[in-house]
């Protein structure tokens, strides 16, 4: 499957930018992973933009009110989508005040990265590390620590 991570706003903290670049670089070995930034704004505006940008894909929406799977459960979910022949999955990270109910309804999966409130840019980092972890597990590789 192809992957697109769509995020409202651009990272401003250096460590978060570096970490994001680090995982995107590693992921090039595992397939197609694209990071797209869309304009930040109100919950309504951002949810609308994320919805439009992810048409025709399996939508995984990051939201504190979502499900809390383990990494292995996430791998199973991936495998299920691949078996069904889905071509593209998108991960949507929204404005700090959350997604609209409408976008959550349109999601194929609502994923909570943590019960704790994470800074936007750190949430992106946690997501990317997880996407990378899933990719290594699916390929049967030991996790690369460095």
């Amino acid at each position: 499957m192809n992957h697109e991570i769509i995020v409202a706003g651009k990272p401003s903290l250096k460590y978060a930018k570096d970490g994001t670049a680090e995982y995107l670089k590693r992921l090039t070995r595992y397939g197609s992973y694209k990071l797209t930034h869309i304009k930040d704004g109100t919950s309504e505006d951002v949810s609308k933009r994320l919805f439009d940008a992810s048409k025709g894909t399996v939508r995984i929406v990051m939201d504190e009110r979502g499900a809390t799977p383990t990494t292995q459960e996430l791998v199973k979910l991936y495998n299920k989508w691949e078996m069904r022949g889905y071509k593209k999955v998108s991960f949507l990270i929204g404005a700090s005040d959350g997604h609209t109910q409408q976008l959550r309804n349109e999601a194929d999966f609502v994923l909570s990265l943590s019960s704790l409130t994470l800074m936007h840019e750190l949430a992106l980092l946690v997501l990317l590390e997880q996407v990378y972890r899933v990719a290594t597990i699916k390929r049967g590789e030991p996790y690369h620590r460095d």
Copy 2:
């Protein structure tokens, strides 16, 4: 309260080192926050070292099998400990194969940062951002994004 974050092993990834330094620097404005690295090793060895290094403190043990509070619930927990006159709280991050049952039994709180398996160094980063977030909330400050 004084804070000590005690971690098995040293971060090796640059972005994680930078992010860790970033939050420790910010936290200097909010009180005493110390990061201590102990030697990595087996679950038993590391749990023993963490236990010894945290004697006489309120122990918060990071473990995937722990509770999943919201940030506000974490703030309430903090306030409770302060009301009780506790002087020092320690956050314990262990080996990748987890803490021993014994250390978890000795914990005042077992905290799960995420249902997902996070790389050690990223877990430290998520914890530090959260400790920083709690500190800003307790002081009634808006969260500092940069």
